[in-house]
């Protein structure tokens, strides 16, 4: 479903974030992106939702070359991708329900559709009773679950999670991982960039390790690091 063919990304300031990356991710996979800060994890995800375009090479997503996606088609590409961030990026002046509904609103969904779909998704992340709360009154774990609810409400084929457990304590992190696993089992492809080695080691999923813009390791049922 996702194919990076010899992709290189050099930013305007001359920094080579990705160097000749070739990577293939099948539908329904759960992939960890690991590596030190600045290794190119974020750049790789930004290329996927076309926040950035590659300097060289080709990216194919869902059967289409991203180079062929015209600027005005980019929003429709992004509706196929759910985004989860370390800092949640929720709208503080909207309730939990409204935050999740917002993802549907921007796609022009009808009120009836919103009223039907949002409760289902909120139940899935066990936040139905907090629907009318505002994000600032929720714990970090709850906020991240809102974020996940917002990411999946459009039925995306891919979820990109950029250090989703970065701001969470260990127990909450595991709840979140179980939620992501659950979503993955329903067929959604998940790419998760992370520094949480304990989670990576315990999950026994595919691990792609990046360092200085290169893939240094790509293992099925991998671990965070082979070094002590």
């Amino acid at each position: 479903m996702i194919q990076f063919n010899n992709v290189t990304k050099i930013y305007a300031n001359g920094i080579k974030a990705l160097n000749d990356i070739t990577l293939r991710i099948r539908k329904g996979e759960f992939v960890f992106l690991v590596g030190p800060s600045g290794a190119g994890k974020s750049t790789l995800t930004k290329l996927l939702y076309r926040e950035e375009t590659p300097t060289r090479g080709q990216i194919i997503f869902d059967g289409k070359s991203l180079a062929r996606v015209r600027p005005r088609e980019v929003p429709y590409l992004r509706r196929k991708i759910g985004m989860v961030f370390q800092d949640f990026r929720l709208l503080p002046q909207k309730t939990v329900f409204e935050n999740v509904a917002f993802a549907l609103e921007v796609t022009g969904a009808s009120n009836r559709e919103i009223k039907k779909v949002v409760p289902v998704v909120l139940n899935l992340v066990s936040l139905m009773e907090k629907a009318e709360s505002f994000p600032n009154y929720l714990s970090g774990g709850e906020q991240q679950r809102v974020c996940i609810a917002r990411a999946i409400v459009n039925n995306p084929v891919l979820i990109i999670a950029d250090e989703p457990t970065g701001n969470l304590d260990p127990d909450t992190s595991w709840d979140l991982m179980n939620l992501l696993l659950d979503i993955n089992r329903r067929g959604t492809t998940i790419i998760m960039a992370t520094h949480a080695w304990d989670i990576v080691d315990a999950m026994k999923k595919r691990v792609v390790a990046l360092e200085r813009g290169k893939i240094i390791r790509d293992e099925i049922k991998g671990v965070y690091s082979h070094e002590a």
């Binding site: 939702y49 926040e51 600027p71 005005r72 980019v74 929003p75 429709y76 590409l77 992004r78 509706r79 985004m83 990026r89 709208l91 917002f102 993802a103 609103e105 921007v106 796609t107 022009g108 969904a109 009808s110 009120n111 919103i114 917002r150 459009n154």
Partner: protein, 295 residues
């Protein structure tokens, strides 16, 4: 476009107007002032043209006859003038009648003419009316060529002056309006820029959620249009009620002034101002968005 989306656009736009209320009021004010100036100068021009038309239709040629002309010749001239096809009417005004009319016009100040009956300095004259205004100048030229004619006068100068005034008002109004209009556009652009800035986080979120550019932009465009429309609405109300109260006052004190009172014409003018206000607002937000909401 779905109804819920339209509702969303309006809700966001009005919220933004409310949040930046001071700047919103300022931009509405500038739109109002610039359109107020435009509207009043337009009304002035329309009225000046109307008065000029009224004067043109009552233009009369006065032909003063040399004092030494004998009455027989005067009669000859009169029939010669009457024979011209463009002449609608000729009236002979002997000097005695001219003096009486002058005294009547002066009313209480007639004393300054006292004693002139003995040695009347006024000439005998013809008053000639033509069928149309454009016949006045050529006819006047022909009248001047008659030997016994001393002087030919007609109101062309007044009409020209009035038209010149209306032209001047039009130019000055257009310049003032253009400058203020540009100021209004940029003030609205600033207002929109601020509300874009205040909501940059939200815009970022909308973009990764897959909102189209127009979905992001439309509330801001609407916000600009609301500001422009509100400003022009204020201007229209002030002009409309101000003008009609002015008319009723003038009709009482200066009944001979022929002002434009057709409501339809005024309303068309006001509609134009509203559309212009809307356009100013839309232009302002487009300028802002071209810079700040690139794809």
């Amino acid at each position: 476009m779905r109804l819920s989306t339209v509702r969303y656009y309006f809700r966001e736009a009005f919220q933004s107007v409310w949040r930046n209320s001071w700047l919103s009021i300022a931009s509405m004010g500038v739109v109002a002032v610039s359109l107020l100036i435009l509207g009043s100068s337009l009304l002035l021009v329309v009225n000046a043209n109307r008065i000029a038309q009224g004067l043109e239709s009552s233009v009369e040629i006065s032909v003063f006859i040399k004092d030494e002309t004998i009455p027989d010749h005067v009669r000859n001239i009169k029939s010669e003038i009457e024979a011209r096809p463009e002449v609608a009417g000729v009236e002979y005004v002997p000097k005695e009648q001219a003096l009486k009319e002058m005294m009547a016009n002066l009313g209480n100040d007639r004393d300054i003419l006292a004693g002139l009956e003995e040695k009347n300095p006024l000439p005998d004259a013809f008053r000639i009316k033509t069928y149309t205004v454009d016949q006045v100048t050529p006819l006047a030229a022909w009248l001047e060529s008659i030997a016994m004619v001393d002087q030919v006068r007609y109101g062309q100068g007044v009409v020209e002056k009035l038209l010149a005034v209306s032209r001047w008002v039009r130019t000055a109004g257009a310049v003032a309006m253009a400058l203020l209009g540009i100021a209004a556009v940029f003030l609205i652009a600033t207002t929109i820029r601020l509300s874009v800035f205040a909501r940059r986080k939200e815009i970022g979120i909308m973009k990764f959620l897959g909102a189209t550019n127009w979905f992001v932009r439309f509330p801001f465009l609407l916000e600009g249009m609301i500001l422009g429309l509100a400003g022009s609405f204020v201007a229209v109300m002030v002009i409309y009620f101000g003008y009609f109260s002015l008319i009723s006052n003038i009709n009482l004190s200066l009944p001979f002034m022929q002002l434009v009172t057709e409501r339809n014409l005024i309303i068309t003018l006001m509609e134009g101002l509203l559309v212009l206000g809307l356009a100013i607002g839309a232009t302002g937000s487009m300028i802002s968005m071209r810079r700040f909401l690139k794809a």
